[in-house]
C-alpha cells in the first residue's frame, strides 16, 4: 500500500490530537498545524487521484480491526475512481475552509478548539470515503456525525446552537438506526462486510425473501432501503431534513465544509458506493427517485421566503442534494457524483460568501437589513455572483453541466418515476435560480437597510478570506468542464472515468432531444433569474404585494410546512411527557427512590430498636453472658 494513503487520514488525526492538547499554548497560532495537515492530505489525495487516473486501483487491508467468530473487519483502504473524486473534493474544500477560518474565526476565545474539530472532521470524512468495508464506513459516518455535532454547537453558550447540535445528532440517530440494521443485514446475507466481496456476491440474492416479524420482504429491496435510511438522515432528505437548516447555528465555515460540501453528501456517496446493491431493486430505486424529487421541490419552495441568508442557502443545499439522489435513483450514479463534485465548489463558495457578508455586517444574518453591499464587498460580490450563476445552471458554469446531465438522465431512464423526477427537477431549476438571485439582489443590490452603525463598519474581508473565495470561484466555473457532454464538443470525461465503479448510464436519445432538454432547463434557469431581477430590483414593491395576496401559502412556506411543529407535537412532546410523568415522576421518584430510600430507612429504624439493648456497661454484657451460660446448662440438663 502506498505511503500516502496512510498519511492521508493520519495527518489530520495527529493535528487534531496535537491541537487539542496544545491549544492553550498555541493560542492564535493554533491554525498552523491543521492547515499543514490539510495541505498534506490534499497532496496525498492528488497523488491518489493521479494513481487512479493511471489505472492503479488499491484495495488493501491495513490491519485487522475486529475478529469475532465469522466477523472479520479490517481497517483498509479502497481507492478507486469514486474514492479519488471524493478525496479531492473533501481535501481541497477542507483546506480552503481551514484557510478562510483563520480570518473568520479570528479572536474567538475557542480558536484552537475550532481548528482541532475541523481536523477531526477531515479525518473522519476521509475514513468514511477511504474505507473498503461497511463497518469502516459506519465508523467514519458516526465520526463525521460527532464532529458535526461538536461544530454546530461550537458556540455552546448560545442555547439555540447547543439545541441545534443536539437536534442534528438525534435526528441522525433515526437514519443511522436504519443504516446499522442495513449493515447487519448485509453481514447476515453475505457473511462479510468487504465491499468487493459483497458486490461480487450481490447478484446472487435476487429474488430471495427475508421474513421478519411475520412480514416477508424482498431481500435486495430491504437491504437497499435500510442503507438508504442512513443516507436520508445524513443527507437531510424528507422526512429527516429538519436538522440541516438548524445546523446553520454553527460557524459559517463549518456550514460550508460540513453542511454543504462534504458530510451531507455522504448519503449520496453511500448510495453510489453501494450501487451494485441498489441496482438489484427497482422498488428501492423508485423510492430514492421519489424521495429525491419531493424533497427537491419541498426545500426549494421553503427557500423562496426565508430571510436568514444562511437558511436560504441551507434549503438550497437540501434541494441540490435531492438532485443527486434523483440521479442515483434513475441509475445515473456518475451524474449524481458529478453534481456532488460541482455542487461542493459552488455551494461552499455561496456559504463562504455568506460568511464574508455576515463578517462585514458584524454577525447580522437577516437579508432584510442588508442591501447595496456591492460597493463595500466587491470580491465577495463577484464570487457570489459566479456561485449563484453556477447553481442556477447558467450555460458554461459548473452547475449547468451536472444539473443538465441529471435532468437528461431522469428524462431518458426506464425507472418508472423518472419523468416525474425530471419535471420536478425542471420546476426546481427555475425556483433555484429565482431564490438564489433573490438572495443575491437583496444582499448586494438596492439600498442599504441596516443601521448606520452597521454601515460604518462595512468592509471587505481580509485576503485570508477572499483568496479562498476566488479559488472556489475558479472551481465553481470550471469543475463542470470535466463532464462536458459530447454534443457540446466535450468527451464526457467524467462518465468515462467513473464507468469502472459506477457503470455507464447511456442516454439513448437523438441529439435533437438532448439539445431541446438542455434548452428548456437553461430557459427555466434564466427565467428564474429574470423574475428575481424583476421582483427585487426593478419593482421592489411587488414582493410585498405578492405576500399579501398569497398570505396563506406564504404562511406555510415561512413556517417550513410546519414539519418541525408536527414533529414536536407527535414525537418530542409525547417523549417529554412520558419522561416527565412516567419515567421521572413515577419510575424514578416513586419506584426507584422508594426502594433506594426505603431500604436504609428500614435498616435505620430496625437498628434504632436494636441499639436500646446496648448500655455500654461491661457488667450488663457479662450478666447477659452468665445468664446465657446458666440457661444453656439448664437446657442441657433438661433435654
Amino acid at each position: 500500500m502506498p505511503l500516502y494513503l496512510v498519511l492521508l487520514p493520519l495527518a489530520p488525526l495527529l493535528s487534531f490530537l496535537l491541537t487539542l492538547l496544545s491549544g492553550k499554548w498555541m493560542g492564535s497560532r493554533a491554525h498552523r498545524l491543521p492547515i499543514l495537515a490539510a495541505s498534506i492530505s490534499l497532496g496525498c489525495a492528488l497523488a491518489a487521484g493521479w494513481d487512479v487516473a493511471h489505472g492503479v486501483v488499491t484495495d488493501a487491508d491495513f490491519y485487522t480491526w475486529i475478529t469475532a467468530g465469522d466477523l472479520q473487519v479490517s481497517f483498509g483502504f479502497l481507492v478507486d475512481q469514486l474514492t479519488a473524486a471524493m478525496l479531492i473534493v473533501v481535501t481541497s474544500i477542507s483546506l480552503l475552509v481551514h484557510i478562510y477560518s483563520v480570518g473568520y474565526m479570528q479572536g474567538d476565545p475557542s480558536y484552537p478548539r475550532f481548528f482541532a474539530y475541523l481536523s477531526l472532521f477531515t479525518f473522519s470524512m476521509l475514513m468514511l470515503v477511504l474505507g473498503n468495508n461497511f463497518l469502516q464506513l459506519f465508523f467514519g459516518w458516526e465520526a463525521v456525525g460527532l464532529s458535526s455535532y461538536l461544530l454546530i454547537g461550537f458556540w455552546h453558550q448560545k442555547k439555540s446552537a447547543a439545541d441545534a447540535g443536539k437536534k442534528a445528532f438525534i435526528v441522525n440517530r433515526f437514519g443511522d438506526f436504519g443504516l446499522s440494521l442495513g449493515i447487519m443485514l448485509v453481514f447476515v446475507t453475505f457473511g462479510t462486510l468487504h465491499y468487493q466481496e459483497v458486490f461480487q456476491a450481490a447478484p446472487g440474492i435476487v429474488g430471495q425473501q427475508f421474513t421478519l416479524l411475520g412480514l416477508t420482504f424482498e431481500l435486495p429491496t430491504l437491504i437497499a432501503l435500510l442503507l438508504f435510511c442512513g443516507a436520508v438522515g445524513k443527507s437531510a432528505m424528507i422526512p429527516l431534513h429538519v436538522w440541516l437548516p438548524d445546523a446553520m447555528e454553527g460557524p459559517t465555515p463549518v456550514s460550508a465544509l460540513i453542511h454543504a460540501a462534504t458530510m451531507v453528501t455522504a448519503g449520496v456517496f453511500l448510495v453510489a458506493r453501494c450501487n451494485p446493491l441498489f441496482e438489484l431493486s427497482s422498488v428501492a430505486l423508485n423510492v430514492i427517485t421519489v424521495v429525491g424529487a419531493v424533497t427537491c421541490l419541498f426545500a426549494a419552495t421553503i427557500a423562496l421566503v426565508q430571510t436568514d441568508i444562511k437558511r436560504v442557502v441551507a434549503y438550497s443545499t437540501v434541494s441540490q442534494l435531492s438532485y443527486m439522489f434523483v440521479a442515483c435513483g434513475v441509475g445515473a450514479y456518475s451524474a449524481g457524483i458529478f453534481h456532488l463534485f460541482t455542487h461542493a465548489y459552488f455551494k461552499a463558495l455561496l456559504f463562504l460568501g455568506c460568511g464574508s457578508v455576515i463578517h462585514a455586517m458584524g454577525g447580522e444574518q437577516d437579508v432584510r437589513s442588508m442591501g447595496g453591499l456591492k460597493k463595500y464587498l466587491p470580491i465577495t460580490y463577484w464570487t457570489f455572483l459566479l456561485a449563484s450563476l453556477s447553481i442556477s445552471g447558467a450555460p458554461g458554469l459548473a452547475g449547468f453541466f451536472s444539473k443538465d446531465e441529471i435532468l437528461l438522465m431522469a428524462y431518458t431512464t426506464n425507472i418508472g418515476s423518472g419523468r416525474f423526477a425530471w419535471f420536478i427537477g425542471l420546476v426546481v431549476a427555475f425556483i433555484t435560480a429565482f431564490y438564489s438571485f433573490r438572495l443575491f439582489f437583496l444582499t448586494f443590490h438596492g439600498r442599504f437597510r441596516g443601521s448606520t452603525e452597521q454601515r460604518d463598519h462595512l468592509h471587505e474581508s481580509p485576503p485570508v478570506m477572499t483568496v479562498p473565495l476566488i479559488l472556489l470561484a475558479v472551481g465553481a466555473v470550471t469543475a463542470g468542464w470535466l463532464g462536458s457532454p459530447e454534443i457540446l464538443g466535450g468527451h464526457s470525461m467524467w462518465d468515462h472515468f467513473m464507468a469502472p465503479v459506477l457503470g455507464r448510464a447511456e442516454a439513448h436519445v437523438p441529439h435533437f432531444t438532448e439539445w431541446l432538454l438542455m434548452g428548456i432547463s437553461v430557459f427555466a434557469g434564466l427565467s428564474g433569474i429574470w423574475l428575481a431581477y424583476h421582483l427585487y430590483v426593478r419593482r421592489p414593491e411587488l414582493p410585498g404585494q405578492l405576500r399579501e395576496s398569497f398570505s396563506e401559502t406564504y404562511r406555510w412556506l415561512v413556517n417550513k410546512y410546519y414539519v418541525d411543529e408536527f414533529y414536536v407535537a407527535v414525537l418530542v412532546q409525547p417523549a417529554i411527557n412520558c419522561s416527565r410523568y412516567v419515567l421521572s415522576a413515577f419510575a424514578d421518584a416513586t419506584l426507584i427512590e422508594g426502594v433506594v430510600n426505603g431500604v436504609p430507612r428500614l435498616i435505620g429504624r430496625a437498628s434504632g430498636r436494636l441499639r436500646r439493648l446496648q448500655s455500654g456497661h461491661v457488667q450488663h454484657y457479662l450478666a447477659a453472658m452468665a445468664s446465657g451460660a446458666v440457661g444453656l446448662l439448664v437446657w442441657l440438663y433438661l433435654v
Binding site: 457488667q619 457479662l622 452468665a626
Partner: protein, 100 residues
C-alpha cells in the same frame, strides 16, 4: 477424708461470690479481683475432681490456668493503668464508649 461434694460446694461458692462481685461492683480493680476469684473457683473444681478421679491431667491443667491467669493479670492491670491515664477513672459505669 473430706468428701468431694464439699470441695465442689466451696468451688461453686467461690465462683458465685466472684460472679456476684463482678456484676455488682463498679471499681474495675475489685471486678478484676472477682475474676480471679471465679478462676480459682474453677481451679479448685479441677484439682478436686483430678484427685477424685485419680487423673493428674486436671492438676496439670490447673497449672496452665494459673500461668495464664498471671499473664492475664499483667495485661489486665496494664489495660486498667492505661484506662486510668486516659480517663482518670477506674469505674466501669463511666466507661461506656461501646454504646456510642
Amino acid at each position: 477424708m473430706v468428701p468431694l461434694s464439699w470441695y465442689l460446694l466451696l468451688a461453686a461458692a467461690l465462683f458465685a461470690i466472684g460472679l456476684y462481685g463482678f456484676l455488682t461492683r463498679r471499681n474495675m480493680i475489685v471486678m478484676f479481683l472477682c475474676i480471679e476469684l471465679m478462676l480459682n473457683g474453677a481451679n479448685l473444681n479441677l484439682v478436686a475432681l483430678s484427685h477424685y478421679l485419680q487423673d493428674l491431667r486436671g492438676q496439670i491443667f490447673t497449672f496452665f490456668v494459673i500461668a495464664v491467669a498471671a499473664a492475664e493479670a499483667a495485661i489486665g492491670l496494664g489495660i486498667m493503668l492505661a484506662l486510668f491515664r486516659n480517663r482518670r477513672s477506674v469505674y466501669s459505669d463511666s466507661i461506656t464508649s461501646l454504646k456510642e
